[in-house]
């Protein structure tokens, strides 16, 4: 009996002594931290994606608390809502920023861009791009080895087997920018998110002369300036044989789309045109397949 008692007593006293030592040490080496950092961190989405430019949500919270303004700070995943909450917590003002979405600017599918050789090296766009021009003759187009899919933390990109091109699932994309950094060819752009995820953009970044670009890809932008001439809102700029539609200026009037002789301008998530059914140009490859759509709803 007594041995049991002695055991309990000695162990508990050791525990108490250890607890006191630990308490004293903790007091001695206490790191004073602004309690607001915890509050801000709780408000953030806790995805640790690095889309804000800082390593992890806690680091971003620290920066938010310590900086004077929130002007250069933006959490793309949480969006404006989250930034408003953070601003409220800290008594600062968050800038109004439009939500963005990633867009793949290449339509070089198997049909549009014939494959001229077969690559069997390491399956990575970064490796292939450093090595050579790719399995088509286009020096700037998508290599189709899914570096963007690998880096996406939100499963918002998948490879379409039929076209060998990545497809962004608009609902899941948080515009964190990881894919933009991962793409060695800078094909992916973050564009303004419009109503119903509608988007009009030039799906090509080839800066070569029209005749040459057309040779290896039937949907290349040839720099013919037809879209530039028809745009009434100065949203289209021309440079280096390439048209570019500024997503902040574009009002989604769709006038430029039928003008394009090579179908390089894509319109996504629009209803089919009623007036001119023969000029309907909705590209099926950017539609989300039925299966994926149901996944999102669930």
């Amino acid at each position: 009996m007594s041995s049991v008692l002695i055991t309990i007593l000695s162990l508990s006293s050791m525990g108490i002594v250890a607890a006191i030592i630990l308490y004293l040490v903790a007091q001695k080496f206490k790191v004073l931290e602004n309690p607001k950092i915890d509050d801000v961190e709780d408000a953030l989405p806790a995805t640790n994606c690095g889309g804000c430019g800082y390593p992890g949500c806690r680091n971003f919270a620290e920066v938010c608390v310590n900086s004077d303004t929130l002007d250069d700070l933006y959490c793309p995943v949480g969006g404006q809502e989250t930034m408003d909450i953070v601003a409220n917590l800290l008594g600062k003002v968050a800038l109004q920023t439009d939500p963005r979405v990633a867009v793949i600017r290449c339509s070089g599918s198997f049909e549009n861009r014939p494959r001229t050789n077969h690559y069997d090296g390491a399956s990575s766009c970064a490796v292939a791009s450093a090595l050579y021009v790719g399995d088509t003759d286009c020096p700037v187009g998508c290599l189709g080895m899914a570096d963007c899919v690998v880096v996406c933390d939100f499963e918002a990109i998948y490879m379409d087997d039929k076209t060998d091109l990545p497809v962004v699932i608009d609902d899941k994309c948080t515009a964190c920018g990881a894919c933009v950094k991962a793409c060695p060819r800078d094909i992916i752009e973050l564009r303004k998110r419009n109503k119903k995820d509608r988007q009009i953009f030039v799906s090509c970044i080839n800066e070569e002369k029209g005749g040459i670009a057309k040779k290896y890809c039937s949907v290349a932008c040839t720099g013919c300036t037809k879209c530039f001439k028809v745009c009434e809102f100065d949203a289209i700029t021309m440079g280096n044989n390439l048209a570019f539609i500024d997503s902040d200026k574009c009002v989604l009037c769709r006038k430029c789309v039928p003008e394009c002789p090579t179908d390089a301008i894509l319109e996504i998530n629009f209803l089919p045109r009623k007036t001119k059914p023969d000029k309907e140009k909705i590209i099926p490859l950017n539609k989300i397949p039925e299966k994926v759509k149901t996944d999102i709803k669930e």
């Binding site: 090296g121 970064a126 090595l131």
Partner: protein, 442 residues
């Protein structure tokens, strides 16, 4: 006991199909495409215009900056285009296209094949001639030769190594050069010795080229300072640092140059080009290229003018076999598969290899089983199994500390890996990124 380097190395099958085939002179093509960047360093600036008539050996592009090389016309004819054209990688780089008309040489070039032994020029004159002639390292790296010959301030070399190792399978261009142009090559070696002010030259040749070793030993026996050393057959002995270790026992420290241990290495083809430039006034306009492959009808060694298309070269060797899987520029181990046959022969191209389809396919990648074979074969003492995931995970700072920049890209690790892992592919990527980080730091 033959000399060799100690650490790592592999023994791929030799397959020197063309070692007994004498060098043939390839007929002139209809047009040549001469890229303006055939060397390591800044691309050259074109000095001819469209429509200009050029002669063989005329300067078409002038070197820009110190690490750069002049480029000369390899044919006579008319400049028809100066434009961006696909190079070996398929990316477009500036190039000059010349349509061939006749074969008219510059008057200053001595075309006779008589051996000219006497070196009359002074050290500076020789150096200037080498620079003017646009000579680059012909072993494959294409580093401008004059840069290597001007030693950094305060450094001194005491040994010149002439690299006749040719450890790559299939390639025999250096082997044939040593046999057919051995005397000229030795004069070139003397010229290099005079420029570098060294008294000792070591010619390293692997033991599978017995005829070349015996021939060069015979004709160099009365020459002071030059000695031929047979070496054990082991890949990658042709690499600069491995050859220095094999011949002199000296080890080049990490991120240092051979000159830091008092050695300068030049290829046998480079020595021959130096002879031609200095004694015959002939700029670098052609080289010996091995066209080989088991499925090829007539594997051969050709003297090819730069700018000739690879297609033309393969036609001359019997045409492209039907079952071809890959056409490789350079050696089997370190060469690069071409994505088009319409690319020109350039200064650094040692060979064209035709590999049948059934031999080219990479096998399925399996997980690393930690067998450490890659560590055993790495001639630089690196740990490829570790470097690959570090590069994949973009851990570039760690990668730098693991000495990734010491990698000579010989491919021994990928060759030996039983799990077929693409080790070298990712290590190369890591090197590019680490170099970027280092450049940013400056």
């Amino acid at each position: 006991m033959l000399r060799t380097f100690r650490k790592g190395g592999i023994h791929p099958a030799d397959n020197k199909l063309t070692e007994k085939n004498p060098v043939q002179i390839l007929p002139l093509p209809e047009k040549v495409t001469i890229p303006l960047s055939q060397h390591v360093g800044t691309p050259a600036i074109p000095v001819v215009n469209r429509g200009d008539k050029v002669k063989v050996g005329q300067l078409v592009a002038k070197s820009k900056g110190f690490v750069s090389a002049n480029i000369h016309s390899s044919v006579s004819g008319k400049v028809v285009k100066i434009d961006s054209l696909p190079d070996l990688t398929g990316y477009k780089k500036p190039a000059v296209v010349i349509e061939v008309e006749g074969d008219e040489w510059e008057d200053s070039i001595i075309q006779s094949t008589d051996l000219q032994k006497d070196i009359t020029l002074s050290k500076d004159e020789i150096l200037e001639k080498i620079r003017e002639s646009g000579i680059v390292g012909l072993g494959g790296a294409a580093f401008p030769t004059h840069v290597k010959l001007i030693l950094p301030h305060g450094k001194k070399a005491d040994v010149l190594i002439i690299n006749g190792v040719e450890c790559e399978p299939y390639l025999t261009s250096d082997h044939r050069l040593m046999i057919e142009y051995g005397r000229e090559m030795l004069v070139g070696t003397h010229i290099l010795m005079k420029v570098l002010n060294v008294r000792k030259a070591m010619i390293g040749i692997e033991n599978n080229k017995a005829d070349a070793i015996n021939y060069l030993k015979g004709i160099s026996s009365y020459l002071p300072g030059i000695k031929v050393y047979p070496l054990e057959v082991k890949y990658p002995q042709g690499s600069e640092k491995q050859l220095i270790k094999a011949l002199t026992g000296r080890e080049v420290p990490s991120r240092k140059l051979p000159v830091d241990v008092g050695v300068i290495v030049h290829n046998v083809s480079t020595a021959y080009a130096v002879y031609e430039a200095v004694q015959k006034n002939k700029p670098l306009i052609n080289r010996i290229v091995t066209v080989s492959g088991k499925s090829l009808k007539n594997p051969s060694n050709f003297v090819v003018r730069f700018g000739t298309s690879v297609q033309f070269l393969i036609e001359a060797a019997g045409g492209l076999p039907e079952n071809t899987g890959k056409v490789i520029s350079g050696g089997l181990m370190m060469g690069k598969a071409l994505n088009s046959l319409d690319v020109p022969v350039i200064k650094g191209m040692t060979g064209i290899l035709i590999v049948p389809g059934n031999e080219t396919k990479r096998k399925a990648i399996e997980p690393c089983i930690r067998c450490s074979k890659c560590v055993t074969v790495c001639p630089m003492g690196l740990e490829p199994y570790l470097l690959m995931p570090l590069a994949q995970n973009e851990n570039f700072y760690r990668l730098e500390n693991e000495m990734v920049l010491d990698c000579i890209e010989c491919g021994s690790c990928s060759y030996i890996c039983p799990a077929n892992r693409p080790l070298l592919d990712y290590i190369k990527l890591g090197k590019v990124e680490v170099n970027k980080i280092i450049r940013e730091r400056k």
